[in-house]
Subunit: 142 residues, 2 copies
């Protein structure tokens, strides 16, 4: 975990009630954390897909804390490798990603985050980050 | 580039003809290579999607040579981080990925590879590597 030292957090794996509201647990569920295969920077790749059209919108990166927030808040939070900070998609642009589901892949190094995307997912204004990037591949048969 | 020293290859950016057949260039097109933002291991993430249904099948990793082969062969080749070797999907399993298109994202660190997948994409036998991994996220509104 990147932003919070392990000894500084209360290990509380299940949602708790505070003033009658269900609050997010303070750390990622240890059963989920144990399944993650993080890279050298403690990150896993997060593929973001529009839940109904199937469009692949973008790829972001999450550490344990970004995944904890994403699983609990209904909004997608990434770790920004360039800015080295958490980044909740849409907070500045308005292009919010509402979570529909999150799944971890078979070897624990990639997440599939299905969302309802408001506006364009790409900072260029495009709907997806791949719209402008076709590389002219040879098409395979059949 | 991982498997081939830069000084050992002929820099030939366009397809050449050999005995009447169009052959792949020996190195990745430098114009494409210049757009890649590789990680510390020289890799970019490659999201693989079924071209017609929109299913996200798996996430793999490519270095320049794996991308060169994928763009030129009509079949998807990854770099296996665990086995440290090139891996052309389906050569042992039969679960071939026929390339439909390849696009690079806006910041050069992710590829979207649209394919026609034969059989299951996952080594577990599942259709996708995310089928068994739902993490029970809170669903966001609206």
């Amino acid at each position: 975990m990147r932003a919070v030292a392990w000894w500084a957090v209360r290990r509380r794996a299940r949602p708790a009630r505070q003033n009658g509201r269900v609050t997010s647990p303070a750390v990622l569920d240890p059963a989920i954390a144990a399944r993650l295969k993080r890279d050298a920077q403690g990150l896993v790749a997060a593929i973001v897909q529009q839940h109904d059209t199937g469009e692949v919108l973008m790829l972001g990166w999450m550490d344990d804390e970004a995944l904890r927030r994403t699983l609990g808040e209904g909004r997608v939070t990434f770790w920004s490798r360039s800015r080295e900070e958490y980044w909740r998609k849409g907070d500045t642009s308005g292009h919010v990603q509402h979570v529909r589901s999150v799944a971890l892949d078979c070897d624990g190094d990639a997440l599939l985050v299905r969302v309802d995307q408001v506006g364009g997912a790409c900072h260029t204004g495009d709907r997806t980050c791949f719209d402008a990037g076709d590389l002219g591949a040879t098409v395979g048969a059949p």
